[in-house]
């Protein structure tokens, strides 16, 4: 009867932020279906050549893989009710910002997750977001509030 909210978790793949959101969402019993890109780095890099054949030129090696991943990511972003994008401390993470722009242009509600030290560099991304959080648990709380209308610590549920 209740709507299941589809939430796509884009971005950084080197910490456990997705698991922390998933744990908090499950603990709260929220009707949320989480999805994400393939988060195994090597698999994600090599999927194209592993399935469709090797490439000598590393550019096309990457290109084949990135396109194959796009079948997954664009479909899931297109399906999502809410898109969460996390920026970690390291790496360029241009794919995270690309996903944020993609989601924004589709009119998807955007939640951005990053440390304060990146606020200036991420100001255009944050400006397109409906919520900017620092910790994964805050994202889970946003989802909980948005879905149930209850704030953390309230006794109402």
């Amino acid at each position: 009867m209740s709507k299941t909210w589809r939430v796509y978790l884009s971005g950084e793949i080197h910490s456990d932020w997705r698991e922390r959101i998933e744990g908090a969402v499950q603990a709260a019993g929220l009707p949320v279906a989480l999805s994400a890109p393939v988060t195994d780095h090597a698999t994600s890099d090599d999927c194209g050549v592993r399935i469709l054949g090797a490439e000598q030129n590393p550019f096309w090696h990457d290109n084949k893989g990135a396109k194959m991943n796009a079948i997954r990511t664009r479909t899931l972003i297109g399906d999502a009710d809410v898109v969460v994008v996390r920026f970690g401390e390291k790496y360029k993470q241009w794919n995270a910002a690309f996903d944020a722009g993609f989601a924004a242009a589709l009119g998807k509600p955007l939640i951005v997750l990053h440390l304060p030290e990146h606020s200036h560099a991420l100001k255009e991304v944050d400006a397109a977001a409906l919520a900017v959080a620092e910790e994964p648990e805050q994202v889970a709380q946003v989802l909980s509030y948005v879905i149930t209308g209850e704030l953390p610590g309230s006794n109402a549920t």
Copy 2:
């Protein structure tokens, strides 16, 4: 087998109009899934700062909360088959009119609910509506007719 109609109830939060529609819809056994914004005033005002951190400037306090609420309201309006907007006797209720305009631009069938004394001030909103009602029970009757094809007082069902 039968379609469940998703109906979003926007606007005034100080009377029991949503409960009256819900009661009438349930009594009639209609396949309707009602949704609404968060209707607890304090919760709705403070959600942003409670989850994402305090703001000294009241403008940003409000801004954080309004954006967080928008994750819920835009998603549910976008999902809705029908949008009902109620204007009460008091307050500016600009968010209700904003939701009406938002729904109209998305091509959502719009039902507006208000007392006759506001008809002139609401003429632009009413002009975008497919039904204008004074009482919540009328809204329930509209939904009943639209879904079942039966008018109130008929013996057919």
Copy 3:
């Protein structure tokens, strides 16, 4: 697992063509969910004033009713996979042609159902259709073929 096809049956309300399609579709066991406007003439005419209050001017009497019916018809046409529009022998039936135009602009596959004597008058409507039939049973056969890939009289199913 199998897709349920949503088929909207617009137009003429004075013969049993909808029942004939429904009967044939059920006999064939097709996964089809049929929908239609309110087909009781008096109910459809008076719904607006019965629920929302009487109007002295017949124009607004009609207007209130037509808008209320539009909540139903536009939602169901918007949901439909296929729109069938039948033109009968009598009356202007401008609402049928309006629905056909509406469905065409939304890119919905259109099946038109009418007698050959109306072919010239309906040439613009037929030109927007993917099938033009004379009998309701043909419409059911089109749906059967489109969904199952089997032609009537074949032994395959």
Copy 4:
């Protein structure tokens, strides 16, 4: 500098209503570009077979012509800021109602022009319109008001 309003005039082709609108629009010096379907009946009927080759079956004769006309009508309706549809006293005029539905689904502001005797039969079409007029001069006045903000008989311009 001023916007030129593109206005498409659909429907009845047996009276001089388009000329009356055009005359009034020109007299008022309005920045309006009028367009219309091909209004010569025989030309409109025969265009398909005259250019693309004869058809023995009258259905396909009509079909070829109606599709060729659709290249013009759909393009011009798609370009239009405002769509005017006139229903005359005679004939089925299903193409007029089809155009009205097509324009409505595209979100085009719709002005409908017909005599009061057709109000009941046209109630669904009128319910989708932003103005319903009886005389072509009223349509010109609507355009004048919409574009200049001045009402007929005012001294302001």
Copy 5:
């Protein structure tokens, strides 16, 4: 060669804010085409009945006028690159908030103009805006910056 920016000025009609924006825009020589609703109150209220015939019921008097005005306002909002909405000190101004919601759903960049005392009541509208100003001259400066890239007081142009 340079793009002309189409800017729609919605909302309050009892002060000279549009003239102040227009004056500042012209003084700066900006390539801006301003548009607005009909701002003469009586004309805007009575346009429907003046052109299309009197109504005894004030609801339909208003309805006719509001729909006629919608031909203008929806077309110009749809054409606009930027939509500015001003809320004044008085009246309900639900049409202003409706326009803001309509523009937001179309993805139009929104600039909201109001005094700080209305910030709380307008928090949902402000949350959908890309700029919130208090004075018309600020709106002109925003337009100037957005178009030329120069800030007020800089020497560069």
Copy 6:
């Protein structure tokens, strides 16, 4: 809970490539709902005249059938998450390329399946694709990877 991926298999109908994909997808237990055009050549050619009446002119014989098939194909392509298009060794297969263009314009992720000898002739189609495969089993592997995130030969599932 898990999303069912809708995959449309367009193109060549003279080999068992669809069965090979279906077999591999079922063996892997993937949540995939496959759909396809009617693949019986004679049935697909004659459906129009069989149901709606014979045509003397072979052009209209074909036209009736092609439009009836379009009810199926456009609906299923519009529903699809992923569109796979296979080009075989023989025949013009313009309908396959048409479907590829149709899917590309709708923004559907496209997988193209053909032998290397057709790479030059298909370069525009391949350039619109997110994956280009030679064997049906590769398509199944792409689907498996996209849905599960596991590569063939990995032990993770």
Copy 7:
């Protein structure tokens, strides 16, 4: 004042059909702006590697070129009022069919040009078209009729 019709000429590049349409359109003084893909075969094949660097693998050589050409073709198809696609006697011409599908999905009026011997193979493409011609001069006549409302051989203009 008069609309300039943008017409994109897709498909076969080995005969003078574009020149024949252009000549006829100019002779008739029609307000038509024709556009087309790059029709020099070698240039079109090699553009990618000539500008962006050589590729050893012919697949990527083709891919680079096809994508570069897509910048032109998709932009011009997207801009077009009418899309004409010609199929010649030779070659696979899958890009022509791809363009036809692309244009159809965008709702562009489609004119297809081919010899009768290809009617069966092109039945799906023809079924999506509003006109099917055999000679370029017929296409010019269709454009002339659609724009001016006059048939060839009439004296009216």
Copy 8:
């Protein structure tokens, strides 16, 4: 008569790449209208607070500016025929990747410009592009080819 191509130049603001493209485009006499974000770093950072009032919290200082810049950037990207995004050697440049994602979701043809050393980090962005260049002059050559159909060094024009 000839189409003017609108090209938006997004991304890196610390080198003269825009000037080099502009110079090459002008030297070639191409009908191109270039646009770009505000490229003066301090102006771009401070625009929000300079016009709309100071903020104590640097997050909101940035937020005000980023939203004001978005009025410009989203409008110009939405208007563009082609979007070019350059990634430089330094900084996070998340706004460049955000713009690339935004443009990709709108279906804009994308040209990406960066050094080979960033190919791996940019593989998702490159995979969404129709051309990937290393030097600004290549971008100008792509535009020249796309618009004129001539390759650099050919004598044809």
